[in-house]
Symmetry: D2
Subunit: 355 residues, 4 copies
């Protein structure tokens, strides 16, 4: 495929942490190419390479560094945009793009809980894309959202366990990486030689988003899953990779080996469709007694797989385990990319099709 055949896409809020990750992941993408990057008024008009404080380990591709940063307004030529906007502006801006016939895949929280907006984890609830039918944007317009970074890692194992055994309670304590706090994000004086047992708004997101994602689409609306999630969220001095210590209560008894088998065997629509960003195995259950660990396992399957370890009985619930996912890949830009791939592959983005 020559470059020109790829679908031009925009990245809204391209200078931030998640925006940078979108740019990086899109650079080698077989279907999409970055045609436009937007940022705040302050950066608009400058070359992206100057406007951004690039903090990724790979070099910024020169052709992208040369792109002029646009203001975050509809009007440029791209049928699909990825939003890494701050929640303070995302809601209104994303609606505006959709109203102009642009398909928006957003990592912002603004529309996540809207009744007619899919909160999508492609392996877990691909059918929720049907909510798009309820959206009233003009031809080509639509909004799909990606969950919070700490939610996604939890969803995949829960999907597998819920299908097999029925989930009744989820108790989760997160140990979240600093890259989740954005740029500039958490100051070093607050996190070096320290842990912060609080992340603003995070526990509520984890508790509520989980129930919407694992809910059923029923008569055009989501009926939330009916179990209870209790979350405690902490920030730790780790660069990338959210670790979550989880206890799960199940309806039907399951011993650790059964749970391991179910999670290891779990596959979803993205795997069937062989979407470019889909991991071969969404969940890797690891053997090591001290696994998973952020530094060792966050990059599993290019950061798109969730790893699980220490599956064992819990004296209060049924099972406990540790799980890990890469918060800015699977938990943000990579997850949103997979949402776009799914929507495209299923013909849900009118006017463009899988190359």
């Amino acid at each position: 495929m020559t470059r020109d055949d790829r679908i031009p896409v925009g990245v809204l809020g391209a200078t931030g942490s998640v925006g940078q990750r979108f740019v990086r992941l899109l650079h080698d993408h077989p279907w999409f190419r970055v045609a436009a990057v937007t940022a705040s008024e302050r950066s608009a008009g400058r070359p992206y390479g100057e406007a951004v404080q690039w903090a990724q380990e790979e070099f910024l591709p020169p052709e992208i560094a040369a792109l002029e940063v646009l203001p975050t307004e509809p009007g440029f030529d791209a049928p699909l945009v990825f939003s890494a906007l701050d929640a303070s502006v995302a809601g209104e801006v994303e609606s505006r793009f959709a109203s102009e016939g642009v398909f928006v895949v957003s990592n912002a929280r603004s529309h996540r809980m809207d009744p007619d907006v899919p909160l999508l984890v492609p392996e877990a609830n691909p059918g929720h894309l049907d909510l798009l039918d309820a959206q009233s944007f003009p031809e080509g317009g639509g909004i799909v959202t990606n969950p919070n970074c700490s939610t996604i890692g939890l969803i995949l194992p829960l999907r597998a366990l819920h299908d097999a055994f029925g989930v009744r309670q989820v108790h989760v304590v997160t140990l979240q990486a600093i890259s989740g706090s954005g740029i500039p994000g958490i100051p070093s004086m607050q996190i070096l030689d320290n842990v912060v047992p609080y992340i603003s708004g995070e526990e509520g997101k984890l508790e509520k988003e989980t129930l919407k994602i694992l809910g059923d689409l029923d008569g055009g609306a989501i009926r939330n899953a009916e179990f209870i999630v209790s979350a405690q969220c902490t920030r730790v001095p780790v660069f990338d990779g959210h670790l979550e210590m989880v206890s799960v209560g199940l309806e039907r008894p399951a011993d650790p080996d059964e749970a391991i088998e179910v999670m290891s065997a779990f596959r979803g629509v993205p795997q069937e469709l062989e979407l470019p960003s889909a991991p071969l195995r969404p969940i890797h259950v690891l053997d090591g007694e001290d696994h998973p660990q952020p530094r060792l396992h966050r990059n599993l399957e290019r950061g798109m797989a969730v790893s699980v370890g220490r599956v064992r009985p819990c004296s209060l619930f049924s099972l406990k385990m540790g799980l890990l996912s890469h918060n800015t890949v699977r938990g943000a830009a990579g997850g949103a990319l997979l949402c776009a791939e799914l929507a495209l592959a299923q013909g849900r983005i009118p006017g463009i099709r899988r190359p």
Copy 2:
């Protein structure tokens, strides 16, 4: 008081991490003075200042640096010893000292679960010292143990809550500091930019010790507390201070304010007796929405107080909260020192008395 009036004590295993902390805390102690330091054969005969790889922030006092390291054998002149021995040797060696009429306060796990050995948190179960009556050592001999570093922090709030509301379930996820792994302890390549969701043996200790400590002494034996504890233990890149994210199920309903009041008001026998190492307030409930934090709060009351924050309702249990304690002070050497002070003040160490 001149120096000579203080009671001479020994530190067994004085070159390790906890041993060093004992040396440091004993240096300015009003009742005790370090008269003997012991270590393995390899170090015996050398001056302590040369044998130890001193890793404390304060300078090693010269008079202690000059002490000759003794082999870890009974025979030196000290009626009381603190044991910071490794569990691989502690059991047998401590029994030998006690058999020679020495009173042993141990931080090792070897004798903790022995039915006739107090597992002591002085504010929580001072009455367990009565188990000493069941020990059959000669006059002056005895063994008292200090719990695991992650247990102690949990015990104080649980004691307060159990007395007031009755505890039924405890779910705890720990984020433990590296100093708990001893010297050399965890290699930097395993913990820099990383978290390890496993500490060998730790979860079992936390689950079992808690029930013994909060158990009742009944007819000369401990009847364990009857609630359930489920623990998940992780190691984080923090120097000192164990943070624990705790959910507690209570028998009688309590809202956060009631729990806060009960914990803040909690006092024990060490406070009544004004023991030198006792914190004025064993539990500090903090206001900050992101408190407690290891770097900010581990040194509260010279590391002897537990801090608690974010007390709030839990959708699965009754309440959830974060708590923090200094793992090598309250959780090890400082805690053991307080045990010795209590035993001495209550006349439990025959032959010596409170100066």
Copy 3:
């Protein structure tokens, strides 16, 4: 001494990193008491305890937490103020205070290189206080400055070596702590698992301030020292404590033992006068082959001493060594406090005298 006898002082810019350190060090000061704290308009009118994001390990004293934050304007009742203002405003504001008859001891860089302003390290150049005679502020007014945090640590050993052997060249590479970057300071994503080989403006400050401080007061003006300093400054993931790897060329040959003796024996006017913040020994030369280290030695003599280690021959210059000082104590608030103590003890602050 009852509290009322102490001299009321103000802290300008009291909510920042250095401002907090001033508040903390002044709390137990025998001569001074914090009577006023100032900050930007945004904070003015609020209680200090609410306006500040307190990041010190000790608790904020309640009586200081209750102080109302004042705008940073002259007019409150304190003959002496400590300035922790940002350089963007310090120059003009400090002059205004001095013009109103207030004695200002500043940690900001704004007036450091003014020809009539002492750039003071009390052990190194106490005589530079005579520059105050050239200042034209009204009775009681004056400005004294404290050098940059990385300069102070270097000055003490250089003073000792320069007096004994004559310094000709200084080559210094710094490894500076994050607390030097203020609040919020360097983002964690820029410094975790990383080193930044650049600190804006730092190398120039180190190169120029050193020559002024070690210069001679000659006919009412400073004649700069005539050696050459070449500096390279880096930021490392350490909380407190600047380490500096130094090579020194000397006029008269000196072997390491001679240099060690000269540095160890070094004392200054603050030691003679027994000023409250003065370390007993300004320079501690350490024996350990891998010393000094930030975590182990930054708090030597309550953070007011400089530690030196690994003094050895250099194949390019005369000697090389490592040195360490606490950047927010000796290198900022503590150093400025010592400047005020010296000025007061020497009768340089008209209207107030040593209690």
Copy 4:
């Protein structure tokens, strides 16, 4: 090429930090395949996957995990071995392999300074391979060594500058990563929130190896380069990537732009021969005023390039700059691999040839 065509090689000391890196880099190598892994007696006989404490971010390839660990003795079928042995045993063992007709490329220091052993940085001194003629091993046997990890990064820029301007003095302060200290390596309690200004033996290696590598081969022997190197080595809490702050005195004056041009244009024999591990550009001179940084630049050209930044005048020497190289790739396993590729491509390994 099918797998069978690749040359079978052995990795001696395959379970350590550098040994693991060899295994990882060899896995996808176009010329070589791992046919044997050796370790100490304790591990011999076990599958590699069980004997190793794998600490690389990529998963251990299953076919290598299944290899039986051999004792570190000659006798297995591989004409070429890479030695990651500890220096305590490397000298004797490597000689034994060479005596049995095996070509040894070693990362250990044991033979580096032997007069007849090339200390090789392929871009800098490829001609030193001629020293092999002076070795008296049987057909096929030979020893080539790779320099110390902190030396290699320094050598490439020095080669470029020495050729163009003549180097007279080199003053270097290193900030070295923890992965250079091996497994288990430096304990976390010694390096978290800390810097250690000492690495045993490192300064001498850096000072001496540099002169041998940049020396001339003259009449079958190396004549060392005649400038002076003064080194100070520190360990910092960074995972991978050695940063070095360097000042260089030159014979012929050069301004920063000339030096930048010379370094940027530098190419060597590995680039001409297009060796598989050779970076396209050995030295990348970066524009950012705060570059290079370990986290951002260590992986440049898969960790095989050196990055340089902040080239500027030095008031004591001619120029100063910061440089960075990946210590376990370019500075160890990757560098050694490039040595083997060079030797093979130049027909220096009798019996095997470039596939």
